[in-house]
Symmetry: C2
Subunit: 430 residues, 2 copies
Amino acid sequence: MNIAELIDRRNELLGTGAALFYTEPLNIVRGEGVWLFDADGKQYMDLYNNVPCVGHANPHVVEAMHQQARTLNVHSRYLHEGILDYAERLLSHHGDHLNSVVFACSGTEANEVALMMARYATGARGIICTDAAYHGNSTEVRKLSRVAASNTAADRDVRAIPFPQCYRSIREGVSQEKLKDLYLEEVRAAIDAFVDSGVGFAGMLVCPILANEGLPDIPAGFMAGAAELVRKNGGLFICDEVQAGLCRSGRWWGYEVMNFVPDIVSMGKPLGNGMPLSAVAATTDLVNSFRRKTRYFNTFASSPLQAAAGMAVLDVLERDNLVASAAEIGDTLRTELRKIQPSCKHMGDVRGHGLFVGIEWVQDRDSKNPDREGAIRIANKLKDKGFLLSNAGVLGNVLKIRPPLVFEQQHAESFLSAFTETLLEQANES
Amino acid sequence: MNIAELIDRRNELLGTGAALFYTEPLNIVRGEGVWLFDADGKQYMDLYNNVPCVGHANPHVVEAMHQQARTLNVHSRYLHEGILDYAERLLSHHGDHLNSVVFACSGTEANEVALMMARYATGARGIICTDAAYHGNSTEVRKLSRVAASNTAADRDVRAIPFPQCYRSIREGVSQEKLKDLYLEEVRAAIDAFVDSGVGFAGMLVCPILANEGLPDIPAGFMAGAAELVRKNGGLFICDEVQAGLCRSGRWWGYEVMNFVPDIVSMGKPLGNGMPLSAVAATTDLVNSFRRKTRYFNTFASSPLQAAAGMAVLDVLERDNLVASAAEIGDTLRTELRKIQPSCKHMGDVRGHGLFVGIEWVQDRDSKNPDREGAIRIANKLKDKGFLLSNAGVLGNVLKIRPPLVFEQQHAESFLSAFTETLLEQANES
């Protein structure tokens, strides 16, 4: 079946509007490590997928899942050591105060748990997010998605601040310190508005590296300052580590990069290397009070199969020290991309943490005018050359480079060559 | 590690209040077909678990998942034939008008989708549920859980009707036909209340066999009548088939047992035999409009691994004609239990559909006073004998018998012997 026929069949069975990547979508049939293969046998280097963090079809994870699936996979109302061992090991990578965990299936479900936890603990409902966030697809979590900066949220329980960034900041020509204070003022104003309106203030939920916002450079000290402000006002600071966490950033967690400690952490995507698995870590008190109030039960979560997949992922991350590798190779990518930058006026900003790199695509560096179409063109050209990445960010103009963490120096080099080649071709075309 | 130590460790790591079955919880380490095994090697017949519908550790499903996991497991923004084949085959078991599907990970996520779908399509928010329902654990779906019959719902977008039943009906001594009309009056009143309050009427969401309500005998014609009433008033009828569906009831879907056709169907638990997989089937128009409005994306859903698990489950269900077997063996169970009933005054009502049997436990048949403690005692005694079931229903007094669908005549016989023995022992004790 050719691509056009597959698309027709997909539109019929799954409905139109189920998003596909690329102008000519790919029919991917096999994966291995950092590689994906289409039905024609064409090979692609995967620079997009963070879920298969230890590589597509990682044999250690595949075998662990197989072994567990053929032994037992049942819900959590029986005891099972596997899930306790996994909980303990996952929590060992967090600070001492995050010592209990609630498992769920998806990042959406984790953020649902985190929101309920904060609201039950504080007895208030107001949650601060950023104006370009995405935290999941449920009715409640969607309220935090792309809330208008004007705070005309559909729900009065949610208020957005302009996401903190250095590249297109709320005031030009001021120091980072000043900028940090300006953004913290926005947090304070949102807290005050919740208190004034009688909604009350429950907390703040953000991705510590603002992945969906476009991975901006955040004014130094903002996250730590915001967490302090939130706590001082009786709220809880929730870190959405669904994208930032599990070694992606060159540290185990995004909050370490930002040098602060959250009260509640939600985790998802890479935890099971593709097996649906998410988690919320918090203090035992917060978890207890959440469980007491909700009697939370999740059929597929806290299962032996989730535990087996999660454990196997931790095995590989620890054994191969992928956190160090992510830091090192991510630095290489940024350094080399910055060397290329002067020769391409469209590369407005090169940034990120570990193996999560963003290139903000602009019409030219002076105007900083976002060039979404240009970013899309580059992504499609690179796809044709066998390199998969995507455009992201609130303006859709940030090239997102976020490969499996088994991405090696040689892969970085080969990508950088292809990227340079693409820029040259593009320059010759225009 | 002994049971007490495991419980302590679990309380610490997962928080207290994460529910466990039985006075002395079980440490289950292995499953096979209808059997579960604890760490001491003790064997239990599983009469509770509906998720592993084709049996614990079903080899065909395990191998299909293994094969797919070692080949490819990636998100749905690339094309993949596997998920289309699965969508087509799953939909082929529904009526002709349910011809598109949205995949998700959990029953909660499926009901989230179903609610959004109905609300976007109607432009209204009011949803009718029953007063003893449970449809999932998210903030929005929880609003449908155990809503007070007095309609003092926390959310004015939700109204509950007393769940329709013959055993403890809203009026004694009337015909089933009359009873049906009385319950339909409740539906009409809820619709009117939504219209009068300005909330508007979006639809009704119920399990077609009212599983969580306690699996009551429903006055004949109620579901069909309610669906008609809902549609006449511009609403959509959503069937939650998470528990009722996929051959459990002796038909493929609970709505077939009730002889009507819903507009939207949510499915979950047994679809992947333990692999997190859920789905919402509806008309293509409803799915299209949902996708257009929400741009719904679910990282772990619509994946090749979900498709492989789901396909393998359908293989076994179809190959072994488990729908017929569920009907037949379920009938045996009910027939034999009803023969025992006269000798035990606590067996107030024996009912159900297919391999989903409920025994309402009462102090005595005349008073019908619910005896939750008695039901719990029986469940614990049977557990000690090696037979696993649980108590359920709004009053907690319904013994729930819901084994994997590979449950055979010999298993039914062996359970019935143990059940009779337990009743005799109990009679001698009191």
